[in-house]
């Protein structure tokens, strides 16, 4: 039986360039015939009838059907076939997916979503227009450079959404050319929207610092540590509250040769912000320098060198320097 189906399929392929109706007529008796041939004697069908392509050629010639119309016709026919098959398969999926979501057909549900699509379409058009007309990077709301940009943007958005709802299904009743233009435009719009969405998603994921952007250390670029005598420490290492080494220092000071030297503070040894002995040092405070860990507990102090970040001494009253993110000091 498989052999028969196989043979039929190959003959069908060889006749692919014929109009489907003609082809099926020619193939109509074939399974029955092959079954008889197979039942009657020995040997494969190909041995007894010749290769399927030859059978097809003989059938075609005897039936007076047009001989192979050339490659292009065959390709066209195959394309038509593929489209037909895909459509049939889609219909099956449509019918089968319906009950899963409580509808007769999947497309019944999708049809209900049409008004939602109209709203979405208006939004996308508004976004696309604003994006094309403005220099700002795109966000999730249309921004118009007109007074309060959010309000103006919302007005634009509403206008387009209402317009799109009004257009509704009328677009499908347009004459052919404008209808196709509309279709192409919307396809492009959807593509652009996908691209924009992935961009926006990218910003949202790539920017974990967005929430701490009001930190008072934002403009800190390098850190210099002085001991209680006001001498700059030159070979210290700096760690954050999690024990990870921090590499303060102006990036242009980092040696690109690599090696451990880049990890050792300070990376910019020369431009010491305080020349020599600073005068803020209260002499004879406690000196609990217990090795690197105690220094490690001093992450990113402000450039304003007012509070000596070294130990748990009472901090000077300047508010900028209070090392809030440093969980180490005091307690």
């Amino acid at each position: 039986v498989n052999e028969v189906a196989d043979y039929v399929a190959q003959v069908r392929t060889a006749l692919a360039d014929l109009a489907p109706a003609v082809r099926e007529e020619l193939l109509e008796d074939l399974p029955e015939h092959l079954a008889e041939v197979a039942a009657e004697g020995e040997g494969s069908l190909t041995e007894r009838l010749g290769p399927p392509a030859a059978y097809a050629a003989e059938l075609r010639a005897a039936a007076g059907a047009p001989a192979g119309e050339g490659r292009r016709a065959a390709v066209d026919a195959r394309l038509r076939d593929a489209v037909d098959r895909a459509r049939a398969r889609l219909q099956v999926v449509d019918a089968k997916s319906g009950p899963l979501i409580g509808y007769q057909k999947g497309s019944d549900f999708v049809r209900l979503l049409r008004p939602a699509w109209w709203v979405m379409r208006g939004y996308l058009v508004a976004m696309a227009l604003v994006y094309m007309l403005s220099a700002e990077p795109i966000g999730l709301l249309p921004r118009v450079e007109l007074g309060d940009s959010t309000i103006a943007g919302v007005v634009v958005l509403l206008a387009f959404v209402i317009g799109s709802i009004w257009l509704g299904d009328r677009g499908r009743r347009l004459p052919r050319v404008p209808r196709y233009a509309l279709g192409v435009g919307i396809a492009l719009l959807v593509l652009a929207a996908m691209a924009a969405l992935s961009d926006i998603d990218g910003y949202a994921q790539d920017n974990p610092y967005a929430e701490v952007s009001n930190s008072s250390y934002d403009d800190v670029e390098s850190v210099y540590v002085y001991d209680e005598q006001g001498r700059p420490l030159t070979t210290a290492r700096v760690f954050d509250q999690n024990g990870n080494q921090v590499q303060p220092g102006l990036w242009w000071c980092r040696t690109e040769s690599g090696g451990t030297s880049t990890e050792i503070y300070p990376t910019c040894p020369n431009p010491q912000p305080l020349n020599g002995q600073p005068d803020f040092i209260a002499p004879a405070e406690r000196i609990p320098l217990e090795g690197p860990t105690s220094e490690a507990t001093v992450p990113q102090p402000s450039t304003t060198p007012s509070p000596t970040p070294s130990a748990g001494s009472t901090p000077p009253p300047e508010p900028t320097g209070t090392p809030t993110p440093a969980p180490s000091a005091t307690r």
Binding site: L26, L49, Y55, A62
Partner: protein, 110 residues
Amino acid sequence: VDTTQLLKGVLDLAVLAVLKDEDGYGYDILRRLRAAGLDDVGDASVYGTLRRLFQAGFLTTYVVPSEEGPHRKYYGLNVTGRDQLHRSGKVWRTFASTMDSLLADRGTVA
């Protein structure tokens, strides 16, 4: 002379002829042709010819369910087909006798 070449010209007539007295399905018709001595007739040629004769309006078809296997599509001559058989048969006889006498004149046929 290759018989298959000759067959091409007369297969229509042969098929009409084997359907003259009794309807038949494809494989049946093929067997009748072979039994009549046309051993070289190709399966596909017969089916293609049946299709073409049907298109030309010479045949009627009907499907007969069979107990074993698939349904069978029977072919039979209609009035036009019988008429065609009659005319083609005459043409063939004329042609054949012409050829016979041609060959006989030259002493080729014993």
